[in-house]
């Protein structure tokens, strides 16, 4: 059954081709059937492949379909590589992808671009599967750019509004910065190793490069910038909040659950290179820690429910990068998986709320919805609890706890990173409780416009179940140490040696739990018991300034506008005539001069022409006679 691996990305491709080429001729029902069949078959195939992969006992499996191109020994293949890491990513992408497609068939019902939407979505799933299954970096790059393209197309899906188009362009251009760096990283790897086959590079690198050598650091740095761009980490995070301009299922699938974690996948996939460059790995951890705090603070003060979730996504990916940076590979991937479940759930529930409120995004105009939308409320509550890492019962607790624990006790970790993580956990608990309280409690401010149907509620319930039970796949030592997930991952990723005692681990978990409850209590007091308190605090100018600063994402947009965009626009305006055009311009001027001179002879007067003929004849005769 392993040989059916190639079918996993092929079904979404077929779905895309059908919908893109003939989408206009199908009815809405047929479109929904096509897209769900494509995604369903892809999911079934990936499940079958996973089961037979686990049964076969292999740690990796490669399926080369054909050679993509062959240029003097540079021969990247259309080849798929399966190991524990790609199995997990493949499963999450197809599973969450299928549920979000199911949700979208109802959510987008009234949209005129129904076929176009699902064509893009299927193309996205295919690209993402190529990204995580590719056996060489060129093929991976194809998937990498493919998801970038789909992200652009789907952010600007409602293109009649120019603001959406700007958001799409911003996302595309900002991630392009990272992609360019990543391309340079690939060139570097190719010049050093003569191949871009991932497994070969991972085997060759430790033999050819010493730990900390310049080449290793440069290559890791370039890949790191690429990962930062795609995963919206500082300083390339500005595009993600604006990416919320797209339809909500897009935010759930692309800008929360899958695409933005491509950077996590890339670093985990090329972990050998990062281990050879410890300084870069430390940078990854520090940037992750800073990002999770910066984005968390911004999430605290947003009013738009989707923007809260967007900043929270940046913050949670910050946790993953923190884990990658300290070498806790399996903790990072574990957090990726639980985050995919609960963040997709949160976005989808938020989408259901937004739809019920007739496209109102501002949480403070909602309120009191818990009785009206019970299923949405409970699923949203479970998602938020998982995001806030409510101890013991939610998946988010186990994955975040693993990251915090590893950040503290691993050699490359430190108390500072742990402190940043625990502070971030507090902020997370505050903003996720705030989101739930403001949206679902208090008085109802707006009538329900539309109730969610079955195809919206089913994915919510399934994802809510997974947001709880996914955590039991990887229990810490203090709770029995039942960890099939990291056991499985360690067949592909190195095992981080844990040295802490169980007693210390329990202490840390108690601290984390206390922090979570503290955050929830703070939000409860500030937004439920005394709802006037936030407004009262805003009367202090300092707090108000801080709030505005955070609200605008720490003013990164203004900063980039001042240091990149304005100088560029200025230079473009100054150089409107394009200095380089002046070089070929002289040809035009010479031609124009000749034209102007010769034009004077064309008087239109017949006697003038006759005298011209006569003078010419006299000159010719004179030449013949005289010479």
């Amino acid at each position: 059954m392993l040989n059916t691996l190639w079918l996993v990305p092929t079904f979404p491709l077929i779905g895309f081709l059908l919908l893109a080429l003939a989408g206009g001729t199908f009815t809405r029902k047929a479109i929904a059937v096509i897209t769900l069949t494509a995604m369903g078959l892809s999911l079934v195939c990936s499940l079958l492949v996973t089961v037979s992969f686990l049964h076969s006992g292999q740690t990796e499996f490669t399926q080369v379909l054909w050679t993509w191109m062959d240029v003097r020994g540079f021969d990247p293949a259309i080849g798929l590589h399966l190991d524990a890491l790609s199995v997990i990513f493949m499963l999450v992408v197809t599973f969450v992808g299928f549920l979000i497609h199911l949700y979208s068939t109802e959510f987008m019902t009234e949209d005129p671009g129904y076929a176009r939407f699902f064509a893009y979505m299927n193309l996205f799933v295919m690209s993402m599967l190529l990204l995580v299954l590719a056996d060489n970096l060129v093929f991976l790059y194809l998937g990498w750019e493919g998801v970038g393209l789909c992200s652009y197309l789907l952010i600007g899906f409602w293109y009649q509004d120019s603001a959406n188009g700007h958001a799409a362009q911003k996302a595309f251009i900002v991630t392009r910065v990272g992609d360019a760096a990543m391309a340079i990283g690939l060139f570097l790897l190719f010049t050093h190793f003569g191949t871009l086959h991932i497994q070969e590079i991972l085997q060759l690198a430790p033999k050819r490069w010493e730990t900390g050598s310049t080449a290793a650091i440069t290559a890791a740095l370039m890949l790191m910038i690429g990962a930062f761009g795609k995963s919206a980490q500082l300083p390339l995070q500005t595009w993600l909040p604006d990416a919320m301009a797209g339809p909500t299922p897009v935010s759930a699938l692309i800008h929360a659950a899958t695409m933005v974690t491509a950077g996590v996948y890339l670093i985990a996939r090329t972990h050998v290179l990062f281990e050879l460059a410890p300084s870069i790995q430390l940078v990854v951890a520090i940037v992750g820690a800073i990002t999770l705090l910066v984005a968390g603070c911004s999430a605290l003060v947003q009013r738009d429910i989707k923007r809260v979730l967007a900043y929270s996504t940046i913050s949670q990916i910050g946790y993953m990068f923190l884990a990658l940076g300290v070498g806790a590979w399996s903790a990072a991937v574990f957090h990726f998986m639980t985050h995919a479940f609960f963040k997709a759930l949160l976005f989808l529930s938020a989408g259901a709320v937004i739809m019920a409120m007739s496209h109102e995004h501002d949480m403070f105009k909602m309120g009191g919805l818990y009785k009206k939308l019970p299923i949405t409320f409970w699923t949203f509550l479970i998602g938020s609890a998982s995001l806030a890492a409510l101890p013991l019962v939610t998946a988010g607790f186990y994955s975040k706890d693993a990251i915090l624990w590893n950040a503290l006790i691993l050699d490359s970790g430190s108390g500072w990173l742990w402190l940043a993580g625990i502070l971030g956990a507090f902020i997370t608990a505050v903003y996720s409780s705030r989101m739930v309280i403001v949206t679902f409690f208090g008085e109802q401010k707006k009538e329900i416009h539309q109730y969610p149907g079955l195809r919206i509620q089913t994915p919510l319930v399934i994802l809510a179940v997974f947001s709880v039970i996914a955590g039991f796949l990887d229990m810490p030592h203090s709770l029995g140490g039942f960890a099939p997930f990291s056991g499985f991952l360690h067949t592909a990723l190195p095992h981080a040696e844990e040295r802490g005692s169980v007693g210390l681990e329990v202490l840390m978990q108690l601290i984390a739990a206390a922090v979570t409850f503290g955050g929830i209590y703070l939000a409860y007091v500030a937004y439920y018991k005394k709802p006037d308190m936030p407004q009262a605090l805003m009367t202090y100018p300092l707090l108000n300034n801080v709030r505005n600063f955070w609200f605008h994402g720490w003013r990164f947009d203004d900063l980039y506008n001042a240091i990149f965009i304005q100088p560029f626009v200025c230079a473009a305006r100054w150089n409107k005539q394009d200095a380089f055009d002046a070089i070929p311009q002289w040809i035009t001027w010479v031609n124009y001069g000749l034209y102007w001179t010769l034009r004077q002879t064309q008087t239109g007067n017949i006697r003038w022409y006759a005298s011209g003929v006569a003078v010419g004849a006299i000159i010719l005769i004179a030449l013949v006679v005289l010479l």
């Binding site: 002879t601 239109g604 007067n605 017949i606 006697r607 005298s611 006569a614």
Partner: protein, 102 residues
């Protein structure tokens, strides 16, 4: 019949040609233009005849017959154009016909 020296004949042809050319260059009336061209053609024909007589060749006279034929054709076309021109611009002044200047 006394022989006329070739130089005299060529001189006459030259004078006629220059007269015709001068007519073409200075007259504005298109009828006079056509007549001046006629003089120039005949001057050329005279030069052929004189040269043919000088070397005792029949070619010069044959060429003159050709020139006559061409002249007749030219006059036919030219007069038709003059009629068309007069219909259009109601004048025979060639300076009016300068719409094609660059």
């Amino acid at each position: 019949m006394a022989q006329i020296p070739m130089e005299h004949g060529l001189l006459l042809a030259g004078i006629l040609f220059v007269l015709g050319l001068t007519g073409v260059l200075v007259r504005r009336n298109i009828i006079f233009l056509l007549m001046s061209i006629e003089i120039m053609l005949n001057a050329a024909g005279l030069a052929f005849v004189v040269a043919g007589a000088r070397w005792g060749e029949a070619g010069g006279q044959i060429m003159f017959l050709f020139i006559l034929a061409i002249t007749a054709a030219e006059v036919a076309v030219g007069l038709a154009l003059v009629l068309a021109m007069f219909k259009k611009v109601k004048t025979l002044d060639t300076n009016v016909l300068n719409q094609l200047k660059g």
